[in-house]
Each structure stands twice: as C-alpha cells, then as structure tokens.
C-alpha cells in the first residue's frame, strides 16, 4: 500500500505538481494498479528468465548538428544566443 505521503514524495522527486485534491485519487489509483503489478512477484528469478541484454556503444564521431538559430527557435525569449531558465537558487 502506498500512502498519500508516498505519492506526494514521488511527485516532488519527479517535479510533477499535484494538488491536494488530486492526491487521494492518485493514491487510490496507484494502489489498484500496484496491486495488479504484484503478479510480477511470482516471476521466477534467474534461469531462462534472466534478461539477455547488454549496452552497446557506438563510436563518438563528430557530425554536423543543427544551426544555432534553429536550435533556439522554439525557446522562449533567448538572450545573446543562450536559452533562459528559471533561477536555480
């Protein structure tokens, strides 16, 4: 079972604003969905079920990228060729 506090904590971590009024709904829905996910508890570990995956990296080759002005064309109010962001501290 997750609590309203758990959902609020995750919302903070994920930077997703959640209203107090939504917390209850999300919490109920999360518990129903997580209950369903509990079927995974019976998945056998090891053996044939071990995922056969590995990271494969390509060579880091320099290739042409987009022109500066096209990169900035969707940013709000860029300044001197830089994007603007809210203050961090």
């Amino acid at each position: 079972m997750v609590s309203k506090e758990d959902v609020a904590h995750i919302a903070t971590i994920a930077d997703i604003g959640v209203d107090e009024s939504e917390l209850e709904l999300f919490t109920d829905q999360f518990n129903a969905i997580l209950d369903y996910f509990d079927v995974l508890d019976s998945v056998p570990v090891g053996g044939d079920a071990a995922p056969l995956r590995a990271n494969v990296f390509r060579d880091d080759e320099v290739v042409p990228s987009l022109p500066h002005d096209e990169v900035l064309m969707n940013a709000t109010d860029p300044e001197d060729g830089f994007i603007r962001a809210p203050r961090v501290i």
Partner: protein, 432 residues
Amino acid sequence: MGSRYSFAHSDPHNAFITICREAEYGEGPLSGIPVAVKDNISTAGIETTCGSNILKGYIPPYDAHVITLLRSAGAAIVGKTNMDEFGMGTTTETSAFGPTLNPADPTRAPGGSSGGSAAAVASGMVPMALGTDTGGSVRCPASFCGVVGLKPTYGRVSRYGLIAYANSMEQIGPLAENVRDCALLYSVIAGHDPRDGTSLDLPAPAPLKPEIAGKRIGVPAEFFGEGVDPAVASAVRSGIDRLEGLGAEIISCSMPSMQYALAAYYVTSMSEASSNLGRYDGVRYGTAPDFVRSWHDAYSHIRKTGFGEEVRRRILLGSFALSAGYQGKYYAKAQAARQMVRNDFARLFKTVDMLAGPTMPCVALPLGETSDPLSMYLADILTVPANLAGVPALSVPCGTAHNLPVGLQLIGQHGAEDEILSAALAFEEGSA
C-alpha cells in the same frame, strides 16, 4: 518537389490536430498520395504536439527519418493526426485537442493511441497514414476502425525524430485501407538508419503476393482467455477458420508468459516514460516556464499544467517503480517477465510460422466511458506481447461484433513482416 496537392476534406471526426491544406509532393512510389502523420513524428516546419499542451506551438527544426523517406517517395504530407497525449492511452481521449470520433460509429472512440491516423484512413480522408505502436497503438485503432495496421519488428523502421515515450518498445508503423497500401507504405519507411542506434540492417521488403497455403499458424489458448468478448472471439475464430480454408494449418498452442505480459509492459513503459518525459521543462521548447519562480517550483508548475492527468499518472508510477527500494520488485521483475515473453515466442516459432488471435479483447468503446485507468490498461493485453518481444504484428479486419469492426491479429517472427503481410493479403482477398 514541385507539384502541389490541395487537401480539401473537412474533418468531422477530429482526426487531425494540424491540417496542411496545400502539400508539396514529388516523384516516387507514393507520388501525389496524401499521407497523414501521427503528431509525435517530427515534421520540419509543421507544429508537432504529441497531443499535449506542453508542446503546443513546438515547430521541429528537422524531419524524422520516416518523413525524409516519405518526401523522397513523393508523398503529400497533408497533416498531423490526433493521438492520446504522448501515446498514453487506448482511446485517443487523453489528447489535449479533444477526442477523435470513430468513423464506424461516431459515438465511440477510435481506439488509440494512433486514433487520428486510423480515423483519417477509415473515413476516406487519406488512403494511408503513419502511426506509432508502443503497446498496440497502431493495431488497436486499426481493429476498432476497421482498417489495416502494422507494427514492424523493433529496429526495422528508424525512430530518429520520433518523440520518445517508451523507446525500448515503440515502432513507427503504417495504417491503410487495405493490405496492399499498408505494405506499400511499410516498404517506403523500412530500412537502416545510423541515426537510430537500434536500427536493423536488413534486406528491402519483398514484393507483396498473397501467400497462406501450407503456413503453420499457432493459436495460443491465452489469446482467447478471460476478458475477451465472446462476440469478438467468435468473429476472430471464424477468421481463423477462413485461414484454414485457404490452406493454412492451424495449431493450438500455449503462451504461459501472457499472465505477466501486461504488468511487465506497464512497469517498463511507465519507467521509460518517467525518464523520457523529464525533458519537458519549457526551457528549450514548448510552453515557457515562469521565470520568476525558482527552478523546481517553475518546473513542477509547468508539468502540472502542461501534462494531462494520464501522463502525470504514468510519470509518477514510473518514478515510483524506479525509486530506491522498489526497483527489484517492479523494474527488475518486469525485465525477467519480458524475457519470458521473448522465450515463449522463440519456442513457439520453432513449430509455427506465425500466431493468430484477436487484436483487441473488445470492440470500440463508447466515448467517455474509460475513466478507470487500470481497466483501460487491461484492454492492451493482446497487443503488448509483440512489443515486449520486438516481433512484428498486424491487425486486419475480420468481420464485426455488435455491428462494429473486429481485427484479426497476426504475429510473426523477427523480420517476418513480408510473411504476415502476405498472409493478411491472402486473407483479405480470400485467395491462397
């Protein structure tokens, strides 16, 4: 380039988010054919929103690889189709641009998430369209609207320029009025692209010809399990009888990993989404943040107002599944279950050429009826296994239930698009 296509259709089903009334086209196999494109595929100079408020006004500075291929093939790109926000839905109702109506019955949803593409084809606005399929998002609306839809093998079609939702599973795929047009559009978009690190380098698709006689078709009992509407099951069983009548050998089989497939799919896709959608902060593109607020406050606020409820729910659940203390319980188990699904397909494909069953457990749902998220997720049970394993799968119309279209799903081995398209063509034309 040089010729212009005038696209004069009205859009009574809200199939499009953006319509391009005048579209340039050139020479090639799709010369002058109007093609609609799902709104999560980047189109240079044409607004691309993913059905979300957070990307309203976003104009991609570059074309997705499939768009470059469409243009080279002479297609006229006539617009961007409606979709569940970021592909997260089974009805196209989570779009920020309002629901799309199903042309087969406008009181019902077209399925999703590529509902706009399916409705554009089913209503005759375009003969073919591109959708994307992460857990069934091409095949579901194809089934519900009565058109043909193909999810290619993972890696067969470049994802360069596709705006990511769950990148280990999604593929761009064609929807069309008939199997020949579906195969034609597929032949244009399939191919290797070094800009997609998971792209496969395979031979070009073979010319399409109807071929079903002698094929061994497995029918897993689990595909007709609990939750499948008996009227849908009956229509699909009749379809499978027709396959047999055309000379296919029908073989009963079993796919035990189906019990884990849906949970494995949702844990994986939500986890990937929570990471992929972290990029929407309004800073580089999309709705601008409030520069007066501090970073986290501005970021949380824009993501609350810019994302719809379903997208926020999935980001939160994905963040939870990946959070400290829960990774082993959810994400790691989901990957083990995913391997079980792959192993099941590998085992079955030693004795059968393809699998058949219903695409969806039900017919198109009435608009406004799916308010409970879990029940919406459960409708994807028959489509997600192909995405977990990366194998190709298509939906072809096979009759009706409750006077609404029903899709027959054919699932093939990795790289066997030609084989399932040939079988679907034989089925559609009623010839072996």
